[in-house]
Amino acid sequence: MTAPALLAVTDLVAGYGGNRVLKEISLEVSPGGAIAVLGANGAGKSTLMKCISGLLKPWQGSITFEGRDITGVPAERRAGLGVVLVPEGRGLFTTMTIEENLLVGATGLRRRMRSGQMRQLLAEGLDRAYDLFPVLKDRRNDLAAKLSGGQQQMVAIARALMAHPKLLLLDEPCLGLAPKVGNEVYRALRILREQGMSLVVVEESTRRALAFVDRACVLKLGSKVLEDDAQNLTRDEALLEAYFGLTSEAKDMTL
């Protein structure tokens, strides 16, 4: 990569209690780039996302964002810096309406804004979210709990966008969704890429992810065992499946 990295993860070691989950993972995302983190269940993908978003403190290694070491920055400050995670399972506030969910998403901006600026950013953010997912606009006063899985994922993504992130982390954005709905999600992600946003997508299924990103890496039991351009990996998809237990879209179809 020629351009200086937007996100650089270096020799990251992390785990829970005495259980080491990530073993010296390194990873880079270039500005405007999109990378997929692939791997079977238990490979450490979600743990890696927790470290990058700040929910889990790594034991060793460093995370830099825009050249700044953010390893010790608490989770609640990272959204304001421009790193936002859409977690596995979406994490919607089910007791709130869709619009309230979106408004909470902008909290990270408040630290640095005056109230006038903030109001404008909120209005812009809502417009952008509803442009991307028009169905949410009609239902904005509905409780998030009432939505279908696909719409909930839309809210989760739209909520993350409210913080005007430079880097969006998505942990299994299509989990539990019908393939058609999953394609909808990726359609939206493609629009975000065109707008210049950088993305990290965590997926178990390879095909859709590889078609979307420009690079991908594969985790196995907490170690990075492979990293390459998406094109090259697409050619070796059968190999990926055989060696790393990755599932292709065929499994999604049966969901």
Partner: protein, 293 residues
Amino acid sequence: MILALQRVLDALSVGSTYALLALGLTLVYSVMNLINFAYGMMLVWSAFIAVVMVNANVPAPVVVVGCIVFSALLSVGVGRLAFQPFLTAPPVTLLITSFGVELVLQYAAIFVFGENPRILQVPPVFNEVFHVGGVRLPISELTTIVVALVVFALLYLILNRTSFGLQIRAAAELPDMARLMGVSPGVVLTTVFAISGVIAGLVGVLWFAQVGAVTPRSDIDPTFKAFIAIVLGGLGNTRGAIVGGLALGAIEVFLSAVLPPNVIGYSEGIVFAIVIAILLFRPSGLVGVSARL
């Protein structure tokens, strides 16, 4: 008919006090799962501050505001010093910590004010009674009901119409998710302890103005009433606190009306029995346990 109306008014007044108490407690519970046994001491300290100010001839409105400010500061101070460091600890740690805080505040009060009851003088108007068509309308009861309504309304607006309120609700439902969105646990805790303290200050004055006197050990009664109310209504949400408080008030007033004189001394125990009976049928309370603040 008039008697029934009278009972309803009494029940509303007693119930509003309990509902207010329960609100102050449930807010903190909702964001940090803290069963705060030190809560009653906030009321006691607020009442002592009121006694001191009244004895210094401070005008009543200033006394009330002074108590609210003092109690809010005390609550935030205790929250940050004693509870926030244990935010990620198991709830039992927080529970034990709250016992410790209760004792510290209690002995601090004994040290400063002594063990003897202190009379809280109230303005004469507070003890006056209106009569409307045979119904007694004591100013103290009306004040309690109005204060409760105002607090309910303000709290509703804060939780539903402000950014702070949204952040509190987010942190109450999914703390980690809230952090990912930029919600600072420290800011939420400070806000919640401040609101809890404001309510405690207000109820402290109301409660001990009606009791007439305060001692450093007067905290048990309001603390227990608040706990019963939130368990009866449903843990961790504002509707549960309000419904539970009002229901507890209604049960108490009903019992005092129907129990024969020789049994009335046991009414506190009978109230508990009724509450337990209700919980047998509705284990998660009248409103139920809901993540919705």
